[in-house]
């Protein structure tokens, strides 16, 4: 739970008044571009960054006074894997578990269980350094689970991973949610937010621009369908006038036009009748990317 949360670094205000309430057991997302203040917010929730002002309660405790007690009950997957590359996969889990006061005999079993969950059992005694990015990420997630956290903070969990590795990670995160772990996720991938989050906030410039479930946000800030039209570079503006009345709203991107309408196919055939001949066209459902574009006038991933 946060109210009017603010984080300032000298003159720069990274988080400028954030109000959110995350319910137990839900997957909650912070969606926004790089520099939106997502990571700063996460670090404050993780009790490794004192807030400048505002209220913050994590698991009904105050990070300022109960940092260690909160950290004992949460798991953190930071943006960069902070694994010890010179140790083995198993040793990383073991050493980290010790910081939570877990006994060596308990950790022997727990480590085996986590390795299986992260599908790293066959690499258990290999050094971490040569592992692939996806494996390191899974190990970081396994490590964050060593204390069986009630709340898991994931900062950009799949950035830099290939599609297969991302899907495997999403599957693991989904399982965790099923088992009752509360997830807080930051991401600048709209597909990730749609896949994982029950509710999310769209963040931009340190502020919350909108809040809701992915479906609610799309219903509120976008249309059901989107028609994407690509033209030769110099012709885009010329066609704009012909298309104006075909959509509720048109976004002009450098390389294409986005027509927001309930009926994409209908708009496309009308455009064809009017003699508009795009290089390529695509009718698709609205996504959170469109919501973000609408809210901020910018794309998520630049």
């Amino acid at each position: 739970m946060a109210e009017g949360l603010v984080k300032r670094f000298g003159e720069f205000e990274a988080v400028r008044g954030v109000d959110v309430q995350v319910r137990r057991g839900e997957a909650f997302g912070f969606l926004g571009p790089n520099g939106a203040g997502k990571s700063s917010t996460m670090r404050m929730i993780g009790c490794v960054s004192p807030r400048t002002s505002g209220l913050l309660r994590v698991l009904d405790m105050d990070p300022d006074t109960d940092g260690p007690r909160i950290r004992a009950r949460i798991g953190v997957v930071p943006q960069q894997d902070t694994l010890d590359n010179e140790l083995t996969v198993r040793q990383n889990l073991h050493v980290y578990g010790r910081y939570f006061g877990l006994s060596k005999s308990y950790l022997r079993d727990k480590t085996a269980e986590l390795l299986e969950f992260a599908r790293l059992s066959d690499r258990a005694d290999d050094q971490v350094d040569p592992l692939s990015g996806g494996m390191k990420r899974r190990l970081t997630i396994a490590r964050s689970l060593v204390n069986e956290p009630e709340l898991l903070l994931l900062d950009e969990p799949t950035t830099g991973l290939d599609p297969q590795a991302r899907h495997l990670l999403w599957d693991r995160l989904f399982r965790l949610k099923q088992s009752g772990v509360t997830l807080i996720i930051t991401t600048h991938y709209m597909d990730e937010a749609e896949q994982l989050c029950d509710r999310l906030v769209v963040m931009d410039g340190g502020r919350i621009a909108a809040e809701g479930s992915p479906a609610e946000l799309i219903a509120e800030y976008s249309t059901r369908e989107v028609l994407e039209l690509r033209f030769p570079l110099d012709e885009q503006d010329r066609h704009l006038t012909d298309l104006r009345d075909l959509a509720e709203r048109i976004e002009v991107l450098p390389d294409r036009l986005l027509l927001y309408t309930a009926d994409g196919e209908g708009a496309l055939s009308t455009a064809h009748q009017r003699g508009v001949r795009p290089l390529s066209c695509l009718v698709r459902r609205s996504t959170l990317e469109d919501v973000f574009l609408r809210l901020t006038g910018r794309s998520l991933v630049d």
Partner: protein, 273 residues
């Protein structure tokens, strides 16, 4: 594919006691050390052997016992101070790259402070680890020195705490430096070339600083190594000049406290942003 579902979360919520947290940080380093001990053991034994052979035996053969060596054979006169010097050198090394690495390369510090372990406990654990490392180096040195017949008696064992204190008085400031920089640059080289080496040469390790030109002596007074050397020789050979002994001790304690506090502050500023 095996599918594992994890048990419903029931986090222990356990926060370990401060002393135990400090020890767990040391334990973490120990796990690392068990995999990487070989190179450090070689240098721990090799350096004192080289020093004692070259200085004690080689140079020492040309030095006859006299007032400047407190009437002792040179190699015996040398032993407690070389003990302090090798402790400081080991500690200085452990206070440079490993610290920067914790922030920058392995980044293990960031992981540790995300656990219930606090920054203060991490810093205390880090210093404890450095102390254990230098004690193991000094123990290796003592074995070598004993083999060379360079030890005057059990009093030399009292030089161990002196070596730890002297190292702390110096390396805490190096830790603070390492916690403040973003890339190694030339900072660590500068520390070794322009501080550690001159301090060893001019801090009364190989000869009393009364042999230095008068204008150089105040520089030696500033170095923790001179105070450490004086203390180490006092506890090894006696007799104690109490005001001077308290002075040396006080100076080293003040330096240590200041350095540790500064290092702690640098860790906090960097990790808790």
């Amino acid at each position: 594919m095996t599918v594992t579902t994890l048990s419903v979360p029931r986090s222990s919520g356990r926060v370990v006691s401060p002393a135990r947290a400090v020890w767990l940080v040391v334990e973490g380093y120990w796990v690392w050390y068990r995999r990487n001990w070989r190179s450090s053991v070689v240098s721990s034994f090799m350096l004192p052997v080289l020093f004692l052979v070259a200085m004690g035996m080689g140079l020492g053969s040309q030095v006859s016992p006299g007032p400047a060596t407190l009437g002792l054979p040179y190699v015996v006169y040398l032993a407690p101070a070389v003990l302090v010097a090798s402790a400081v050198q080991t500690a200085a090394f452990e206070s440079t790259y490993p610290i920067l690495s914790g922030f920058k390369w392995t980044q293990i510090y960031w992981g540790i402070v995300a656990s219930p372990v606090t920054v203060a406990q991490l810093v205390a654990g880090q210093f404890t680890w450095i102390a254990l490392r230098l004690l193991s180096a000094v123990a290796a040195y003592l074995v070598v020195a004993a083999a060379f017949g360079a030890l005057s008696g059990p009093g030399v064992l009292l030089a161990l705490p002196v070596a730890v204190l002297t190292s702390l008085a110096f390396c805490s400031w190096v830790v603070a430096l390492a916690a403040s920089i973003d890339s190694e640059g030339q900072a660590f080289n500068a520390v070794f070339r322009f501080v550690v080496l001159p301090m060893t040469l001019f801090g009364g390790t190989y000869y009393p600083i009364s042999q230095l030109p008068a204008w150089l002596q105040p520089l030696a007074w500033v170095t923790p190594m001179w105070h450490g050397n004086e203390l180490a020789r006092t506890v090894s050979f006696g007799p104690a000049d109490w005001p001077a002994t308290w002075g040396h001790l006080g100076y080293l304690v003040v330096l240590s406290v200041g350095g540790v506090l500064l290092a702690g502050q640098r860790f906090r500023v960097r990790l808790m942003v």
